[in-house]
């Protein structure tokens, strides 16, 4: 069995104040994470306050863009085409919700090495997704 990846109509993110740099970087092909200057923890999703110590001293940094699949599901009956939702554990140690793309979805496995790629939403916003490394 094979379930080839198909391009999906992606919902535009509705940004809140402070979200812009993440998506501007994504448009340039870069994945950002937030790091706290006080406690040193990296977090995701990115916030204006560190979720580990509430320090406001959080700054963007480039992620390596590689990681492994923590868990996933191929959604076969919600919308017109199947797609693969997943959590990926980044090399920085945090997990992010994402989609696995550009592969046979039936070949996706927990623990698989993946690297970031970017897909455009219907409104042209780039969002990070992952594909087998």
């Amino acid at each position: 069995m094979a379930t080839p990846y198909q391009e999906r109509k992606i919902t535009d993110p509705i940004l809140n104040v402070g979200d812009e740099p993440y998506f501007e970087a994504a448009a340039q092909g870069r994945l950002l994470v937030k790091k706290c200057a006080d406690c040193g923890e990296v977090h995701h999703y990115p916030r204006g306050a560190c979720p580990f110590c509430l320090s406001p001293n959080v700054a963007w940094q480039d992620a390596r863009g590689t990681g492994t699949i923590y868990t996933y599901s191929i959604t076969r009956r919600a919308g017109p085409i199947p797609y693969c939702i997943a959590y990926v554990t980044l090399d920085e140690g945090i997990k992010m919700m994402t989609n696995i793309v550009d592969c046979d979805l039936d070949s996706v496995r927990i623990g698989q090495a993946v690297k970031v790629t970017f897909k455009k939403t219907s409104g042209g916003v780039a969002v990070p997704m992952f594909t087998p490394a």
Partner: protein
């Protein structure tokens, strides 16, 4: 201070409807309130505390209090999704213990079936929600968020689709005796596995129903409960716990039940082995497996084995669960199953469950809910009750 023994559930009512296109949500709330008052043998003006969740029409419970003409000295509209009504029981018992009210009404209603809701639709929760820009583009829907939890459980613990299917099979054995249940046909493990795959590894029959309807509960001080002509259902312990993505240190191997369960048992002075009947939130089959482990009915990772071979079926299994058919077969009003979880536990403790599913000498019951999603953010709530 403890709520153990400070409050009793004196009224419980499950609306019989499963599809109500001709009734408003507010009207359904009022019908549920009336049903619970009649069950308790109380009148509307006896109520001085009111609880509903954030999904009730209007803001903060005021619109519903207005609609029903309630005269209140305590109001609470805590929203933890489908577990809200278990949290409300906890909060009502606290308010009663502190003398803030004497008789509390809790109501739920909704019409997701008439309004075309489904667990396969991407839903925004309004403006300013901080997580949504980083999640909604990926198509998170109720079923695939739980499916990721199931996938991980299978990977880590060897849980199988057959084991998950047993949860549905048990629910269907109970639902056959419930004339109001949406799905009354007894199904087999093979039926579950043969149903369409919605989101790997969850099949259609791993998912709960979508139903209109609602329910209501009345909680009262001990002296009032003892003056009424109903069997006494005492609240022994209750606890709540939100769980989320922990700043990116996501761990989907356990739920908030791992926190709320032990606290509720401690307050009750009881342990899982004391429980004769359990109402376990069953949005999906995996939800039940995770919660049974986290509540301590079996060890982490052994939930699949625990639910297999009919162990949850009343009369044959070791832990009878969801004897009304649960959300998987009977009813999941407003996509919020915590209310019906309490109602069936009350029926069991009173000895008023259907005779085919009534647990013998049922003197201790647990109800547990998960609101939101095990796959990202949820509110867990546990309530332990005793027949006095």
């Amino acid at each position: 201070m403890s709520i153990n023994g400070k409050a009793y559930i004196v009224g419980a009512f499950e609306h019989p409807t499963r599809k109500a296109p001709d009734k408003s949500v507010a009207q359904l709330h009022a019908e549920c309130a009336k049903g619970a008052l009649d069950d308790a043998g109380l009148a509307k003006d006896d109520i001085d505390g009111y609880f509903c969740s954030g999904d009730a029409p209007g803001a903060g419970g005021f619109s519903m209090a207005n609609y029903m003409g309630l005269k209140l000295r305590h109001i609470d509209s805590t929203d933890t999704g489908g577990s809200s009504y278990l949290v409300h029981l906890n909060h009502a018992a606290q308010a009663i213990a502190l003398g803030k009210c004497n008789i509390a009404l809790i109501t739920l209603s909704g019409r997701p079936r008439s309004e075309g809701s489904s667990g396969t639709i991407v839903r925004s929760r309004g403006t300013g929600v901080p997580d949504e820009p980083y999640e909604l583009p990926y198509g998170p829907v109720t079923v695939n968020l739980y499916a990721m939890v199931a996938m991980l459980h299978m990977y880590k613990y060897g849980t199988t689709s057959e084991q998950l299917a047993w949860v549905k099979v048990a629910a269907s054995h109970h639902a056959q005796h419930n004339p109001n249940a949406m799905l009354r046909e007894v199904v087999t493990v093979q039926d579950v596995l043969a149903s369409p795959m919605i989101s790997d590894p969850l099949h259609r029959l791993d998912c709960c129903v979508v139903s209109d309807g609602g329910g209501a509960l009345i909680v009262a001080r001990p002296e009032i409960a003892k003056s009424l002509k109903r069997p006494l259902v005492k609240i022994r312990g209750a606890a709540e716990a939100p769980k989320h993505q922990m700043g990116g240190k996501v761990d989907l191997t356990y739920s908030g039940a791992a926190w709320s369960g032990p606290r509720a048992f401690e307050e009750a002075g009881m342990k899982p082995a004391d429980i004769k009947y359990a109402s376990i939130y069953d949005s999906f089959t995996i939800t039940v497996v995770m919660q049974l482990e986290d509540l301590g009915f079996c060890r982490k990772g052994e939930g699949g084995k625990f639910v297999a071979d009919g162990n949850l079926i009343s009369g044959t299994g070791k832990l009878p669960f969801n004897t009304d058919g649960g959300g998987l077969c009977n009813n999941h009003p407003a996509n919020r199953g915590g209310m019906t979880k309490v109602i069936e536990a009350v029926r069991q403790l009173r000895g008023e469950a259907h005779p085919k599913v009534q647990v013998k000498n049922c003197n201790a019951a647990l109800a547990h809910g998960t609101g939101g999603s095990l796959g990202h953010r949820h509110g867990s709530a546990t309530v332990i009750m005793e027949r006095e």
